[in-house]
Every structure is written in C-alpha cells, then in structure tokens.
Assembly symmetry: C2
Homo-oligomer: 223 residues x 2
DNA sequence: TTGACAATTGAACATATGTTCGATTATAAT
DNA sequence: ATTATAATCGAACATATGTTCAATTGTCAA
C-alpha cells in the first residue's frame, strides 16, 4: 500500500530550475551541485543530488553522470535576446514608450520575442523593443497584420532608414522610409508601387524608433 | 630585439574554437581541457592550457580560472537553429531543392540564418530551409527584396497556408496563400489590395514548401 | 652557427566536483 | 500511536579536472 501521497515538484525544485536557467545564462555553463546547493541553502550535496534525481525523473532536467556540471534543463535555454513586446502598433494609436529601467522581462512568454542574437545588431540590445502590428495599416511598409516589428529607440533618423513615426496632427502612426529635405520630410512606403507622403516643415513629426527587424511567424495559418 | 616574428593563430587554434562551438552545441556545456586535447590529438594538458592562454590573449575565448569547464567562446554560441539559405527566390527562377542529407552547414555564416528556436515550430527543424528574396516580385506576399523566407518542405498544402509555388507553364515562382476548390486553385496575395490568381485544374502547379517565417533585417539601410 | 624565444612534453599536484551510504528526522496514511 | 516512506544530513570517497613547473625540442633572426 502507498503510505504517502506522491508529491509533485515543490518550490525548491522550481527554484533549482530557475537557478539552472539563470546560471547558464550568466556563465554559459551549468552550475556544480554545490553551487546549486548554495543557492537553495542546502549544504548536503547528497540532498541536492536527491533533488536532481527527482527533477530528472520528472523529465525536467538531463544529467551526464560523472561529469562536472553535467546538468542541463531538458528544454535547453537558448542564448537569445529577449525583446519585450510593448503593445500593438496601429494606424490610430500612439507608439508605446519604452522605459528600459523597468523590467518587462516577465516569465510570460507572450510578452516577449526571442531573437537569435546573431540576427541583431551588436549594440544596445537591451534597449530594443518590439511592437505587434495590428490591422492592415502598415501594408505600405510591407508589414502585415500580426507581424512583430523590432525597434531601436531613436528620436532622430538618417535618410533612408525605416522609422516608426507618430504624426500628432493626423493622429497617425506609420512605418516608413525616412527622408529629410529642405521642404520638410518625405516618407516613402516600402512598397514602391505606393505613393510617398510629404510632410511640410511646419507639421510636427515624432520619430519613435528605427525599425531593426521584422518577424512574421506563419505557423499553420490554416484551419 | 625580437628574435621571432609573432605568429598569429594557427590552424590548431581554429580547430579548438570550432570544437568549443561544436561541443557546446552538443552538450550545452563546455569541454574539459582534456577533452579538447583529445580532439586535437594533444596529450599534454599544459600544452592545451598554453593554447587556451593564447586564445584568451587574442580575445577569442574567456576563461574562468579554477573552474571546471570554465572555457567559452568570447562571442558566445547561441542555441539557435541554423537554417541553410539555399539560394535566391525570384519570379523567374525555380525554387532550389533542399536535400537534408547534404550538410549545408558550412562555417560560412553567409549561407545560413540563425533563428531563435523559440520562434520556430517544434517539429522537423532540420528540414527547414531558407531562401533569400530577390527583386520585388514577392511584393504581393508582403515580402520585400532581401527578406529571408523560411520554408518547411511540402508538396501538399491545406487551404489558407502560405506556400511557395512553382508554376511550370508560366515559369513563375510565387508566394501565396493557397486555396483549393472544385475548379482548381486560388492563390491569394497577402496584400489584400491585390488580386488573387486563379489556376485552372489543368494547369500544373508544384508546391515546394510552406512558409514558416519571414525575417527582414534592416540594419542601417542609410548611407 | 648560435642565441632567444616559442612550442611541446610529462609528470606531479591541488582541488573542484560527482557519488555513495549509513544514520537521523519529518511526514502522512493506517 | 505505529509504520512505511520521504526528506535530510554528514561525512567519506573516488575521480574528474584545472594548475604548475622543470626539462626538452623546435624555429627563426642575427
């Protein structure tokens, strides 16, 4: 007969899992048993070993026996840049402001995109933010409903850069290639078959960021 | 006086670097000094240590002293899926065929995209391939010159999926949302302002793959 | 050729690190 | 309360692994 109900994973186990991820992210190699122990305030290495065995049986981690630091999360952590999705971007909405001092990096996967770091510019990755395109209003920027645009905050832009712009007078958000000339600004759609917009010098124009990347996921759109 | 010219990194060093990447990718932790030695056929641990010191001085790796497996590439390897770019996709060109038995995974970064694995569908990642869009011919699929399209090989498709299609009679490659009905096929552009194409039953049509993702990098388009 | 330094070797060493096991304590079902 | 099992502990153990050093060999420049 079963004398005890089989407990699932407790808070300690999750603490270990989180630590594994955190440590790996920081060091690029897994922690030792003793380092894990230190983190969860357990001195006995056999105790930690005990926890790890449980986690392994639960399929949460994998272990290489007799190998130092031979622990890893079963679903390995990727070395990717996690970019917070601040909100929607649409024609009638102002662009949300990104405050890098606030951590948007919650556990919630839904509010971040992970981009392979090799695809991103090297500098200032922690300031990048992402917006989810809503509606068809960005079609002239070759951007579709549901696309994720990754932006680098910027208030200025050079000619030819694709920027996110807020036009206060028109209450209009738009993504365009940016050109400045003596008469004002020229905003060119990415789609060459569409007409550029001319903004006179007098009209205000707020550049919110430069578009660094566009990501479109098309997993089983079908029913 | 200098008695010898200072040699740079030799083949051995690069072999070590490649091994570090390879080993890390496979084990999710770095190799030991002795494992490195085994790979480059060097028994003396001090010799390997010597190489590692050189690599460290050259800034190619980082080391944590007195820590097992405390070696890592200075530019850390990411846990991403490496997708080979088979070639261009353009209106007049047939779509290159992907043969997964051949390894396209050369050292050359130019011929692969790395995508954060969290962004990709879980299954059959090793069969994915990528094409670089050339020209404006895919504009009606909201895809721009220079974009990278990631495809999953497929000869069939369900309604509503975006597929890469080769139309032999028209010698035309195109990316469209795919619909089948009694009269034949309907290929809808992603851009709703454009007209769908109707393909009669009689006309041949080769589905080459389903579009899984579109990536657009826009780093400093400006001059 | 020869001097100077790089490269290589081998072995000893220190310790970082996983493993094992018996004993003890806590917990829940009976 | 009793009992079976889980959880915890501590210590000993085995070895995986980084470090060090003296000695040897190789190579280039003068």
């Amino acid at each position: 007969m079963m004398a005890r109900k089989p407990k699932g994973l407790t808070e300690v186990h999750y603490k270990i899992l989180r630590f594994l991820e955190e440590y790996q992210r920081e060091h690029h190699y897994p922690p030792t048993i003793r380092e894990i122990g230190k983190h969860i305030n357990v001195d006995s290495t056999s105790q930690i070993n005990y926890y790890l065995d449980q986690l392994e049986r639960h399929g949460r981690i994998e272990r290489d026996r007799n190998v130092s630091r031979g622990v890893r999360l079963a679903r390995p952590i990727s070395d990717v840049v996690r970019i917070p999705i601040l909100g929607p971007i649409a024609a009638g909405l102002p662009i949300p402001v990104f405050d890098p001092s606030v951590s948007y990096l919650t556990d919630d996967e839904a509010f971040a995109v992970e981009i392979a770091s090799s695809l991103l510019p090297a500098a200032e990755r922690d300031k990048l933010f992402a917006l989810e395109v809503q509606g068809d209003s960005m079609i002239d920027a070759m951007i579709n409903d549901g696309d994720i645009v990754v932006l680098k905050p910027a208030a200025e832009a050079h000619n030819g850069e694709m920027v996110a712009i807020w036009l206060p007078e028109r209450e209009e958000t738009t993504l365009k290639y940016f050109y400045r000339d003596k008469d004002g600004y020229l905003l060119k759609p990415a789609n060459p078959s569409m007409q550029p917009i001319r903004i006179p010098k007098t009209e205000p124009l707020e550049i919110k960021g430069k578009v660094v990347m566009v990501v479109r996921r098309i997993e089983s759109v079908a029913a």
